[in-house]
Symmetry: C2
Subunit: 189 residues, 2 copies
């Protein structure tokens, strides 16, 4: 299991926002092209005033059918979902939708790289958890087992994401170590 140095500098900012910022750094430095997908919205009514932009007057949030982020890094298709929790010791499955899990499995079957980025805000620790170890615990819930990922499991089967000045959630660093160089524990690939 990787060491767990405390991460600094990311208090008061949501995980998603920090990932978006990290992606901007990756993009500007030519390291990776990864974007947040827009939130899907169903538009019901639109006004078209003269000489100005169309105004949406009635619309509803739709449930996303896939994940938060995707893109390309070094020829690899990257696809992930970000989750943060205030719980200290687990991430409940109620935070994760089955259609997202299905999408992530489909991605993996096509040779893409799919994972969760999970932050324990109270610990100020953020992990990359690949779809493989995740899916084993996820499937066990249907046999009556626990309906959450424990902190201990995430720490042992995932990888602590380092904080760096330019990329506050420097997950590409983990991808380099785990998916490209080979990883430091086999069961998490």
């Amino acid at each position: 299991s990787p060491k767990s140095p405390k991460q600094y500098g990311n208090r008061g900012m949501t995980l998603e926002k920090e990932i978006v910022e990290s992606n901007s750094y990756y993009l500007e430095s030519g390291k990776a092209v990864i974007h947040k997908k827009p939130t899907p919205i169903q538009v019901v009514q639109v006004d078209y005033p003269k000489r100005s932009a169309a105004v949406i007057k009635e619309a509803y949030y739709q449930r996303p059918s896939t994940t938060d982020f995707n893109g390309v890094y070094n020829g690899l298709y990257i696809d992930f979902e970000a989750k943060e929790t205030k719980n200290k010791n687990s991430l409940p499955f109620s935070n994760i939708h089955e259609h997202q899990v299905n999408h992530m499995l489909q991605v993996e079957q096509q040779g893409g790289i799919s994972f969760f980025i999970i932050r324990f805000t109270s610990r100020n620790e953020t992990f990359l958890l690949p779809i493989r170890p995740f899916i084993e615990v996820w499937n066990q819930q249907f046999d009556g087992k626990r309906k959450s990922l424990s902190y201990t499991f995430i720490k042992e089967s995932g990888y602590l994401i380092p904080f760096t000045f330019q990329a506050k959630v420097n997950y590409i660093d983990v991808i380099d170590r785990v998916y490209i160089t080979g990883g430091d524990h086999d069961e998490s690939k």
Copy 2:
């Protein structure tokens, strides 16, 4: 240059919708995982009525910062923009935004596959045009050359996308031939 059999069955349906349908077929048959990105919308005002869903009361369409579609096929990152025109002999560059072109170049630099799907509705013909031949003509506009892609150029440098019953815009067929097997004309790779 590829032969140009007439394509049938796609009248009265927009290109984008047909691509979405083709993607559904690819997804259900386990062939590829490619989705349309949601249209980005800036939400200004939301009502939260009791016991029912949040209603967006004021919002505006935002300019998309990337392309229409992306995903993974056979380990390859796929990213493309769909354009259709009623013109018979050209696609004006006014239909294409510079930030989209920049995104497509960034994708290519990361080892992804990036292209346009261009339909001439009056001819009922749809082409896949890779970013490489496109960018040459695109760059020439800044030297005072033409500000459009001619039908002839698209036909010679691109690939006619076959219509099939299950995938009306069967662009994966072209990807197989051009990017995987090697293509039938070198300059379009």
